[in-house]
């Protein structure tokens, strides 16, 4: 019986081996044609009739293929089991796609990302594991080659910088120089994501978003660096001077209009970090990301909002904000007014406090300050201009009230 069983199996194994070899040869031809990860993913998707998503270790999209009319998650970052170590393939916790799996992209010890497969219907991936692993291997080879090339070397620098891997600016500058990167003294980070993108066209839409953002942010002070993360982008805009940072902020807030002007029916949301020295650009990136989240949750998206304009919201959003964080916030809001008061012997802070103490009643505030109502109006206009505040906006009112409260609590 064993022979009976063994006889048909051997040819089958040979057939499978032949098929695997043929597939490997085809992958080699695809790779040789220069199509990169996208072409390899496309070849796999066609071979196994599944959607394929390739992401690198920083969750940047490298390829999407075979999606057809199917929607797949923008990233598998949050779908991987917590104990996924990048050694073995893992099942994805993807609702409605019980057979979806992610396969590690590895080159030796290096973990380069994930190749995720979303099979059609109820088909199992078991029989196709060989094809998938071969493809993952070929993509890993491609990524390793890229990483060894100029582009990869440059990208590696930014990855390290954003991971706060450099001890000091000199080390970062030397590494950048070695990789052929001209660094600006400072940067402003801009985070942008498309909203509600249909996954079947996400890659194309993201390419359009990237193009419009670069066109809008186009810098006179150097090349804008693009970092892809998850389903969106971070743009690092060179800003040697404060005026460059101000212009970067202004330009970033115009990205949604840029999309509209370009005739693209894509809604975007984003945030702008504060001006940071080169070595501290990761902070600006974090702020841009936080501002983007707040822009989406508090302001309904469709906007790119500078972190500096969010007032109290970053503190409310952040878990574990310390007393010092609150003090810094209050100082940032009130200090420009205090400096103006000191310099010009005015009473802007007192006026502001009284204005809120009397329930924003101009007449009552004027009586308590012993000035004409017009003086209160004038001072409030000055406060708005100096503090970059819109006192008619509930959001800014909350910010000012919080700053005044913190200030008062601290005596």
């Amino acid at each position: 019986m064993q022979d009976d069983i063994a006889v048909p199996v051997r040819p089958l194994r040979r057939d499978r081996s032949e098929a695997l070899l043929a597939f490997a040869e085809a992958l080699a031809r695809v790779a040789a044609s220069g199509g990169g990860a996208q072409a390899l993913a496309g070849h796999l998707a066609a071979a196994i009739d599944a959607a394929v998503l390739v992401e690198d270790a920083q969750w940047r999209h490298l390829a999407v293929a075979g999606t057809g009319e199917r929607a797949i998650p923008p990233s598998v970052r949050d779908l991987l089991p917590k104990d996924a170590d990048g050694e073995e393939s893992v099942a994805l916790a993807s609702p409605g796609m019980p057979r979806a799996r992610a396969y590690p992209l590895r080159a030796g010890e290096a973990r380069l990302g994930w190749l995720s497969v979303f099979p059609t219907g109820t088909r199992s991936l078991e029989e196709r594991t060989g094809l998938i692993r071969l493809t993952a291997l070929q993509i890993a080879v491609e990524l390793s080659r890229d990483a060894g090339g100029g582009r990869g070397r440059r990208r590696g620098f930014w990855d390290r910088l954003l991971a706060r891997a450099y001890e000091d600016p000199l080390e970062a500058r030397e590494d950048a120089q070695a990789r052929g990167i001209a660094l600006a003294p400072g940067y402003v980070a801009v985070a942008v994501e498309g909203e509600g993108l249909d996954e079947t066209v996400a890659a194309q839409r993201n390419a359009e978003i990237r193009r419009v953002c670069l066109d809008t942010l186009g810098s006179r002070t150097g090349d804008v660096v693009v970092v892809e993360r998850g389903g969106g982008f971070f743009f690092l805009v060179p800003a040697p001077l404060e005026v460059d940072a101000a212009n970067a902020r202004t330009a970033a807030t115009m990205i949604p209009r840029g999309m509209h002007r370009a005739g693209l029916d894509v809604k975007v949301v984003g945030g702008v970090g504060r001006h940071a020295e080169m070595i501290g650009v990761a902070r600006s990136v974090d702020e841009a990301h936080e501002a983007m989240i707040i822009a989406r949750r508090m302001f309904g998206g469709g906007r790119v909002i500078p972190y500096d304009d969010l007032g109290v919201y970053p503190l409310l959003h952040r878990t574990g904000a310390t007393r010092e964080d609150w003090r810094t916030f209050a100082t940032r809001v009130l200090d420009p007014l205090r400096a103006y008061d000191d310099k010009h012997q005015t009473e802007l802070v007192r006026t502001l406090k009284l204005f809120f103490d009397v329930g924003q009643n101009i007449k009552e505030a004027a009586a308590k300050l012993n000035v004409h109502r017009h003086t209160v109006f004038y001072r409030l206009r000055q406060i708005g201009e100096i503090g970059r505040l819109d006192l008619d906006s509930p959001h800014d009112q909350l910010t000012v009230r919080a700053a005044l409260a913190v200030d008062e609590l601290d005596g």
């Binding site: 404060e242 005026v243 101000a246 202004t250 103006y340 310099k343 201009e385």
Partner: protein, 414 residues
């Protein structure tokens, strides 16, 4: 009415005219009246001495006074070469060219003016003095003051000539006044400034006064500026920012044209709200560019506060329009608006915010103009060289002159 003045300005903005009998007007409109261009400042080019005056019928106006009982009319002219092409040394044609070029990025562009001037008394010999008959300040009114009467008469005369005065009031200095002209097309506004300067002087004479647009006639009093504001129409807010950035970017380059005398730079000092830095603001009175908040549902205006009325109106408008358009074309941004008084800006703050100082002298301004190829391109080679040569010579005469201040400071010291 028997005579019509065919008027134009030279490169320095001085009004010139050729009078013709009314019977010759048809011939003039057909471009058959010529003049000797070789005798006009900045027009000299050996082989192009004969110039054709091409009247712009839209500017025809009857002058609101008589000369020896004769009523005169005036029409502004473009200058053409005998073959009918616009003369490249003609400031009015230059502005038209710049406006046409700017039309690709600024489709709806209008301009208005606030022009300041002093009215001084004449001395016993009928020569202009620097004495005034009033001691007023902003918006002061004195019914018995001749200056007030002259200003009112000027407004009435301008209205009669089809130039609406949106407001007229006393300015900061004693004897200093301001006329505000409502927005019109940029060319019409330049035409109007030529007319206003002539009418103000003429009416002042009738009241026994001397009107001067000299930028800084008195050291201890406010200088006279020419605030020019632009209405860009219903445009995307970012386009307005680009335009503001263009003005800041080319401010140093256009200063020689907008502030063309050695005296202009006595006004551009940190006092009396004269601008000295390339700063924009919503409210600051001494910013170079002001964009006041929108009022009455109208889009915000862009006000340029550095020019003075000694400028050639056509060239000033040409370089400002070019700066606006260049900002839009290159999609420049101006940084954040400034709040407060620009006079308190420290060096470090200015460096961080990309804020530059306006030229401090005509010589510096000419050097900045030389380096600004965009502004030079707007002027064209002919006008640029004619203007530069004339102004370098003017500056050299000033440099060689020994001024009263020097005698006061050094005569007894050394």
């Amino acid at each position: 009415m028997r005579w019509v003045r065919l008027a134009f300005v030279d490169v320095l903005g001085i009004e010139k005219s050729v009078s013709i009998p009314v019977s010759e007007l048809d011939r003039a409109l057909a471009g058959n009246v010529t003049f000797d261009g070789g005798s006009i400042d900045g027009f000299v080019r050996g082989e192009e001495i004969d110039m054709v005056l091409r009247p712009d019928a839209a500017t025809f106006t009857v002058l609101p006074w008589t000369t020896d009982g004769q009523v005169e009319a005036r029409v502004l002219c473009d200058i053409e070469t005998p073959d009918g092409t616009p003369f490249e040394g003609d400031p009015r044609s230059t502005l038209k060219r710049v406006l046409e070029d700017a039309g690709d990025v600024l489709q709806t562009l209008r301009a208005g003016l606030e022009v300041e001037f002093y009215l001084f008394a004449l001395d016993a010999d009928g020569m202009p003095s620097t004495r005034t008959s009033d001691a007023g300040s902003y918006f002061d009114f004195s019914a018995s003051d001749r200056g007030e009467e002259a200003r009112l008469a000027t407004s009435v005369a301008l209205e009669a000539m089809g130039i609406p005065v949106s407001s007229a009031h006393h300015e900061h200095g004693a004897g200093q006044h301001e006329l505000d002209l409502a927005a019109a097309t940029v060319l019409a506004t330049a035409d109007r400034l030529v007319t206003v300067r002539g009418v103000v002087k003429r009416i002042a004479e009738r009241y026994g006064l001397h009107a001067t647009f000299m930028p800084k006639p008195l050291e201890a009093q406010a200088g006279s500026g020419l605030h020019i504001y632009f209405a860009l129409g219903e445009i995307d807010e970012v386009v307005r920012l680009h335009a503001v950035a263009g003005l800041l970017e080319h401010a140093a380059g256009f200063t020689a044209i907008c502030n063309p005398t050695v005296n202009s730079y006595k006004r551009l000092v940190a006092a009396w709200d004269a601008p000295v830095y390339t700063v924009w603001s919503h409210h600051s009175a001494n910013a170079l560019v002001r964009v006041p908040p929108a009022f009455g549902g109208e889009p915000p205006l862009i006000e340029v506060r550095s020019p003075d009325a000694a400028c050639n109106p056509y060239l000033a408008m040409a370089v400002l329009v070019e700066a606006l358009a260049d900002g839009v074309r290159t999609r420049s941004l101006p940084g954040d608006p400034f709040t407060g008084s620009t006079y308190e800006l420290g060096d470090r703050f200015r460096a961080e915010h990309g804020i530059r100082q306006l030229p401090k002298s005509l010589r510096q301004a000419l050097a900045a103009l030389e380096e600004d190829l965009v502004i030079r391109g707007a002027l064209g080679d002919h006008i640029y060289h004619a203007f530069r040569d004339a102004k370098l010579a003017e500056y050299e005469r000033y440099r060689r002159a020994v001024h009263p201040w020097e005698r006061e400071a050094y005569l007894r010291t050394f």
